[in-house]
Symmetry: C2
Subunit: 317 residues, 2 copies
């Protein structure tokens, strides 16, 4: 089959498109701005228009397209193909996506949430190496996740599976945006790492380096990692704290599910092997012996393309 | 189809057999002693003999039997149908089970580990109400578990999925039999509850009730719950500690997988609604809002029959 699949990664700032072969080769990609004016009423028609233009420009017809998949923020009804509660798009109320795109373009359409789509992308073509069982944890502004068992996304009884960012790590910890206390997100997201940096800053006597930056309110997660890598004592302490929380959570997930891989992605994971090694050391300490040798922690490898690749794969399921 | 399925629950003391209709009705059951003499070399032939006798006594032939499923301790290769490392049976080395039973009896045979079989039984006919996603936690001498997604057992990359008893709950806690520190099993198994009772006993000033019993080394998990239910202050404290550990772990599992139910079984769960309510209160505190209303904690309902019922269901998968 030489047909193409199209993946869409819908975000609050840009909409990313990718055209792939059915075996996952990304052949072309482009981006348009997300127009959130008037409660995002132009978003779906902009998507339709952009795909139609691509087809014309490349002398393709809908016969050349196997289908389209999309990852979206908000709460997804992946059977009905609707989205609601995607506030960064202006979509508070339920939006029809699948029915509109299928009738306007004339090819099958599938949708899931953006973290799940990225998880599928990494599991299929990225660090997951197309193994059957992969857990994806994305460390960004928040902490998201996706759980893939037997190459299928786990959705759970109400689509809330993969809320790894809200797994408890410290019952005496920070209050989370979800209303609970001590979620992983409060210590392992970009914001969470700053939470940690603020929490312990008065316990350290240094007057320069990261301590100074934090006291001036100028430290981001990137600075914490950069200082740590250059040997800063406080930076190292904070990264070690972060690694304890994330490594322990990885061990809990691995002991429950024994996946082939737990893949760590998102902006924070740009800290790379330095981050992975610290998280892995904690993980290995708490992984069950059989799990320790059969569930491996890896860094994500697709970067920003994970979303469009995984979204495209939705239509193959 | 009026054929029967046979389920076997192989334990270190007894072997339980059940004959079921294919829709899960338990029509007859019996038990034989487990002969662990000579490294358990008689176990498989005893099983074959017992089934053959049942067939003859009930005027049945192998044409009436759709297949046989078995839950076993130890490490299972469920594809090859072998067991090893089942030390309570004397089976250190790999044992051929499937090939022997299929050739001796002449019907298809399937095998999985005993906790997984019990999980399937509860998910199918018991508290799980045949919903697609069910996590089973069994609190006995140890803590075992089984994870069922889309009505299928999750095995993981090396069959170690469901090691819920080894999920970390306290990195400053007790050392576990697995070699790690702070596993759920060290505080939520029958032995674990006694660990907790011993740990805090000198913090309480009572000279009678559970404190006295613990100081005399006579308290079991059952006594801890019995005293707690009758209002004993120390008993209540220990059950509350236990509930915190188990409730938090349930929240972590639920936030990751959002199953329909988390079903709690095993000997310790005989403490019933009293136990469930305390665990549930902690669970609700740490469950993600969507998860809180869509993943419910329940007590197991099949008791000792879960193993034979779930084992029988293995052959239907």
């Amino acid at each position: 089959m030489n047909k193409k699949i199209i993946g869409i990664d819908l975000g609050g700032t840009t909409i990313k498109f990718g055209v792939l072969s059915v075996d996952g080769k990304l052949e072309s990609k482009w981006t348009i701005d997300t127009n959130i004016a008037e409660n995002g009423r132009y978003i779906v028609s902009d998507i339709v228009k952009s795909i139609q233009e691509y087809l014309i420009t490349n002398s393709l017809t809908t016969d050349d397209i196997f289908g389209i998949g999309m990852g979206s923020p908000g709460q997804i009804d992946y059977e009905k193909g609707t989205v609601r509660g995607a506030y960064n798009l202006g979509w508070a109320e339920e939006q029809e996506i699948k029915s509109v795109i299928e009738s306007e373009i004339g090819v099958p359409f599938a949708i899931d949430n953006d973290a799940n789509a990225a998880a599928l992308g990494e599991a299929w073509i990225g660090a997951g190496d197309n193994k059957p069982d992969v857990i994806f944890i994305t460390l960004g502004t928040g902490v998201g996740g996706g759980v893939i068992i037997n190459r299928k996304l786990v959705h759970g009884s109400r689509g809330a599976a993969g809320e790894i960012g809200h797994m408890l790590v410290d019952s005496k910890g920070f209050t989370c945006t979800c209303g609970n206390v001590g979620c992983l997100e409060t210590v392992a997201s970009a914001t969470g790492i700053v939470n940690l940096a603020n929490k312990y800053v008065n316990d350290f006597e240094e007057t320069n380096g990261l301590v100074k930056l934090v006291k001036e309110g100028k430290a981001s997660a990137k600075e914490v990692f950069d200082y740590a890598k250059s040997g800063d004592k406080y930076g190292t302490f904070i990264v070690d704290e972060f690694a304890k929380y994330l490594g322990k959570t990885c061990s809990q997930l691995a002991n429950a599910l024994n996946p082939n891989y737990i893949v760590i992605g998102g902006g924070v994971s740009a800290a790379g092997e330095y981050l992975l090694e610290k998280v892995n050391n904690v993980y290995l300490e708490y992984a069950f012996p059989t799990v320790r040798i059969s569930t491996e922690l890896k860094l994500a490898s697709l970067g920003n393309d994970a979303g469009i690749i995984g979204a495209a794969s939705l239509i193959l399921k």
